[in-house]
């Protein structure tokens, strides 16, 4: 049987309490949210924290709300929001269909009922779907420590596999996704089976200007070796171009060229590189179609 090594456990009563506990116990203390990444690692003894700080009672970390105006505001997603809550949130789906596209293909309902958004991005697994989503969305992370809150753009959040901007005595509080009218977004993933981690996946967020020209674009790539989960070169190529099939193909080619996948049992490098391109094209195609539909509806 798989059983974890000895650890202590504390149920936090406030975010400040979390920070105090983390400070007191040092780097061997770990936050546990949904536990769907941490507990399996503890059972395999790949992680052996001395203290688990349980944040599941902290309602201040939960909830999905729109803060500010539709143009200048943002969608606030609390770190303790469960995958299932994000999937069920109509306000999230309305503004950012990419969130629902992604949540539909993350794990399975059992995992989605417990696993949290904060846990997902803090886990920083190179195949984590939401990492590519939030970099595409140019979301901002709000992190709290003893000195109060600081914000980190998601594009600077990931410091390599399983490493993030969150320091040992800090906690991710929420993610803020800037609202942008007339944007369309989409996420596409290839896996070997429902609930499997991505072989490769791509997310795209596109704002169209007059004449169908790409105003701003975000492209997130998952599982293909980009440390920051972002296809910057493809974004640069697209910005200012007419959003048509040729542009998508060119962006796909650039995304494929610049990604750095490694071979594993999910597939060889050439295939993953091909997927990075193919899925970038498909995500862009869907995102632009949604942007157009949004404009004509609006």
């Amino acid at each position: 049987m798989q059983v974890p090594a000895f650890f202590e456990y504390q149920r936090a009563t406030s975010v400040e309490h979390v920070v105090t506990l983390l400070e007191r116990f040092g780097p061997e203390a770990r936050i546990v949210a949904g536990g769907h990444s941490l507990i399996p690692m503890m059972k395999l003894r790949l992680a052996q924290p001395e203290l688990l700080v349980d944040v599941n009672d902290l309602h201040e970390l939960a909830g999905i709300t729109v803060d500010g105006s539709v143009d200048a505001g943002h969608l606030r997603i609390g770190a303790l929001t469960r995958h299932a809550e994000l999937l069920a949130s109509s306000v999230a789906g309305e503004h950012f269909p990419i969130l629902h596209d992604a949540e539909r293909v993350i794990a399975d309902p059992v995992v989605r009922n417990r696993g949290t958004i904060g846990g997902s991005v803090c886990q920083a697994d190179p195949s984590e779907d939401l990492s590519g989503v939030f970099t595409a969305l140019r979301a901002v992370a709000v992190i709290r420590g003893a000195d109060g809150d600081r914000t980190v753009p998601m594009r600077e959040f990931f410091h390599g596999p399983y490493e993030t901007a969150v320091r040992p005595a800090e906690i991710l509080v929420e993610l803020r996704v800037p609202l942008r009218t007339g944007a369309g977004s989409a996420y596409v993933k290839v896996d070997r089976r429902a609930g499997d981690w991505a072989v490769a996946a791509a997310g795209a967020v596109v704002s169209l200007g007059p004449g169908g020209v790409v105003d701003e674009v975000g492209i997130g790539l998952t599982a293909v070796g980009d440390a920051d989960f972002t296809a910057v070169e493809a974004e640069d190529l697209l910005r200012g171009r007419v959003a048509d099939e040729d542009a998508f193909a060119a962006a796909g080619a650039v995304a494929a060229e610049h990604c750095r996948p490694t071979a594993d049992q999910r597939g060889p490098v050439d295939y993953k590189r091909h997927l990075a391109g193919e899925l970038t094209v498909r995500a862009l195609r869907d995102a632009v179609a949604r942007a157009r539909r949004g404009r004509s509806a609006g």
Binding site: A5, L44, R192, V199, P268, Y271
Partner: protein, 802 residues
């Protein structure tokens, strides 16, 4: 002999809800890990991180000084008891705990017994093993190279990794037909290593009583009686002092046939500590170290005349057996029943050669619902027929139809000497094609293909099929044995004075619903309600000897035994009834009746209204009645059923897939399965078995794989890496049935537990390859494999993707 579903409409038969499900759906099943005995200790296994390494030393002092550790067992401890090695099912030995070398990653090196499972696991980290890594043999195709490291240097005079050569069929007759064939197609196919992966892993609670000298083993055992003999031989405990109890088992698929080191270490742990010892392996341990399946590298050739009539088959196989030859199959069949590879076709000559090799991988083999390698045989021939169709531009359905054995050929003796009992293959294939609407899907496929060629966008549709013949229900015992134990099964039936009954069996359910099906057999024979028959299995103290449940043998062998025992009881009842009614036994007519609590009845021929029910007879048989000479009284019978032949269930499957050529993703859109397993005792249970097997087939065809990297690291040691199919990958199964009874089984039934696992993989693979227009690519057809096949650079599945 052919029939319809009406043939299954006997008394007692039908879709009776499963008796066992009441406890399962309430979460009240009782599995090994649910057992907690007073004072029970817990075991944990230390495993090798290396695929091949010499053991310089094992230092357990730190582990032994852990306050909760009660014993640490190493290879040396076992060697002192003569237990460091155990015999395998295939004329070899396997290490219990490694003494000289480790030979695969995950091999057992030491066993800790502690007061709780946490401490047992903690103590593993305190054991210090000094390994000297050796180069491993990972690629089976290099195992016989002159410079390959010798894995089994424990065996005297070993200079290579060769295990056996075996052949079947007539090489000269085959060569002659190939020489005059108008067309020959060849193909290399890998049936990669897969794992049975039952949801419940293997486990045991061993309880040795120092006072009585008795050993009780609660274990996940598909073959409890065979296990008892093995414990007696290996541990030296007299067989009558050993009791094996298999509680509820959460899936077996062959994984729980074999003897594993953890079981034996738990026994030794219990002997050493005087307390019961539980050991339940975790998922990774199960996937890394217990019986794998398949791992056949096949080269097939198929010869046909100008009209597309198949003349002959020729096959050579390289079989990867892992580090110890421990395949669980009848001992005279080193390649199992692979010899049935001529399948459902009228093929005049065939020949096959199989070479087994050792590699630095886990032993076991021939598990996973394979009917002793009929799975590989069916995959080979059904793929070759499709390759022939591809090469000669023929429709695979027409090609099959033109070559199938026709019903008038049964009983049929195949070119490799198997006697098929009964079958109607054209009817099964016709039914499957009609149900699928074959012409319509072909038209749809053509339209999709045309659109793809115009727009470059998918999906592409593919249609695949297979017509399989299974060979299940081993023995007869003259031909088939496991470690010298003939493959016959016992049954004991006792009818109580008040007319209820208890049936004791030597087979053991792992989810197949024996408690229901076997009660139905007794109900069928005696007219008792299904609920009035209790079925006892899995406890060697309370069941007759027999070889257990695997290879789809429960219904063909134990089912026949139950039927024979019940008929013996019925004949006893006739004698008692004759006394009660004061007539000659021959004048009595049996009527099974409506299945009421009275049971069936005997009435006097030609005298209406004079009858006596089984319930009345049961009371009288236990009462004060004066019985004639030779009638002993009471109603009870035992039997040992030695099957005269295997049964040969068959079926025709049609699979429809959509493939996204841009990503290689496969969607199994439809699956039509026509199964013929003879008479169906409980059609609902039969369909459940088929559902499971079809899902297995989708899994193996599309995702399941045990692979190793160059260092012999196991790359599939969790359910994140060893993918089992989910409901999302399974279409709504479209099932149909034909009924061709077995002429030699008392109920006309054949086995069905493995049919769908055997028959479905080639249908899925054929469909995917049909969609993408590729002649051959190996399983599992994951998106990457499909895409690379489309690029003309298929991936070799048995080695790590690089």
């Amino acid at each position: 002999m052919t029939g319809t579903l009406d043939a299954c409409a006997g008394p007692g038969f039908g879709p009776v809800p499963r008796k066992e499900d009441g406890r399962f759906v309430r979460g009240r099943g009782r599995f090994v890990d649910d057992i907690a005995l007073p004072g029970m200790l817990h075991g944990a296994v230390l495993r090798s991180p290396y695929a091949h390494a010499r053991i310089r030393s094992v230092d357990v002092t730190a582990a032994e000084s852990h306050p909760k550790v009660r014993a640490v067992i190493t290879g040396e401890t076992l060697a002192a008891r003569g237990m460091a090695w155990m015999p395998t099912f295939s004329h070899d030995v396997a290490a219990v705990l490694a003494t000289d070398k480790v030979r695969y990653q995950g091999q057992e090196v030491a066993f800790v017994v502690a007061e709780d499972r946490y401490a047992a696991r903690d103590a593993l980290a305190l054991i210090d093993v000094d390994y000297e890594p050796l180069p491993p043999v990972v690629d089976a195709r290099l195992a016989l190279a002159l410079d390959a490291p010798v894995i089994r240097d424990d065996l005297a005079d070993r200079t290579d990794n060769h295990v056996f050569d075996w052949e079947t069929g007539d090489p000269d007759a085959t060569a002659a037909l190939f020489a005059r064939a108008a067309h020959v197609s060849e193909c290399d196919l890998v049936y990669p290593r897969v794992h049975p992966a039952p949801l419940e892993t293997c486990g045991t609670v061993a309880d040795f009583d120092r006072i009585s000298g008795k050993l009780t083993v609660h274990a996940t055992a598909q073959a409890p009686h065979a296990h008892r003999m093995l414990y007696a031989r290996i541990a030296g405990i007299p067989e009558h002092h050993i009791r094996i109890i298999a509680p509820d088992i959460g899936g077996g698929f062959g994984n729980k046939v074999g003897m594993y080191p953890g079981y034996l270490c738990a026994v030794v742990g219990s002997i050493m500590t005087g307390a019961p010892v539980k050991w339940v392996e975790d998922r990774s341990e199960n996937l890394m170290s217990t019986s794998f399946a398949r791992d056949f590298h096949m080269h097939g050739e198929i010869a046909a005349d100008a009209d597309g009539h198949i003349l002959a088959l020729r096959v050579s196989v390289l079989a990867d057996h892992g580090a110890f030859n421990a395949t669980a199959q009848p001992s005279k069949f080193p390649a199992g029943f692979f010899g049935v590879f001529t399948g459902s076709y009228d093929i005049a000559a065939a020949h096959c050669r199989v070479t087994g090799v050792y590699t630095n991988k886990a032993p076991g083999g021939v598990a996973y619902a394979c009917s002793f390698r009929v799975t590989e045989a069916v995959y080979l021939v059904e793929r070759l027929v499709d390759v022939l169709a591809h090469d000669t531009g023929r429709d695979p359905a027409e090609l099959r139809m033109a070559n199938l054995l026709t019903p008038d050929r049964f009983p049929f003796r195949s070119a490799t000497g198997w006697e098929y009992d009964s079958g109607d293959y054209p009817r099964a294939l016709r039914t499957a094609l009609d149900t699928a609407g074959y012409a319509g899907i072909r038209a749809e496929q053509a339209a999709r293909r045309a659109s793809f060629e115009k727009t470059g966008k998918g999906p592409l549709t593919g249609i695949g099929m297979s017509v399989f013949t299974e060979a299940v229900g081993a023995g007869p015992r003259r031909l088939m044995d496991i470690m010298g134990l003939g493959m016959a099964d016992g049954a004991e039936l006792r009818v109580h004075p008040t007319g209820t009954a208890v049936l004791r069996l030597s087979c053991m359910s792992q989810g197949q619903g024996h408690e229901t099906t076997f009660a139905q057999i007794v109900s069928h024979e005696l007219g008792l309600p299904v609920d009035a028959v209790d079925v006892v299995q899995g406890d060697t103290d309370n069941t007759p000897f027999g070889l257990g449940t695997y290879g789809s043998r429960s219904t063909p062998v134990s089912g026949a035994a139950a039927s024979v025992a019940a008929r013996k009881v019925r004949e006893q009842a006739r004698q008692v009834a004759a006394v009660l009614l004061e007539v000659a036994a021959d004048d009595l007519r049996w009527d099974a009746g409506p299945g009421s609590a009275e049971g069936g009845s005997f009435s006097v021929a030609g005298v209406p209204g004079v009858s006596v029910s089984l319930r009345e007879i049961a009371m009288a048989a236990h009462g004060g009645l004066d019985l004639p000479e030779g009638v002993e009284g009471q109603l009870a019978a035992t039997t040992v059923y030695n099957p005269p032949n295997l049964t040969f269930p068959f079926g025709a499957y049609v699979c429809v897939v959509d493939v996204d050529p841009g990503t290689g993703e496969v969607d199994v859109r439809r699956f039509v399965a026509v199964d013929d397993c003879g008479v169906r005792i409980n059609p609902m249970i039969v369909e459940g078995q088929i559902h499971g097997g079809l899902a297995d087939g989708v899994g193996m065809a599309l995702m399941e794989l045990v692979a190793f990297d160059d260092d012999g690291n196991h790359l599939s040691a969790s359910f994140m890496d060893y993918l089992l199919p989910t409901a999302m990958e399974c279409p709504p199964w479209e099932l149909a049935a034909t009924v061709t009874p077995s002429p030699h089984h008392p109920l006309g039934a054949k086995g069905v537990g493995e049919s769908a696992t055997v028959g479905s993989p080639p249908a899925v693979v054929n469909a995917v390859l049909d969609a993408i227009g590729v002649r051959h690519a190996d399983m599992p057809l994951t998106p990457a494999h499909v895409w690379r096949a489309l690029q003309g650079r298929p991936i070799r599945p048995d080695i790590a993707i690089r």
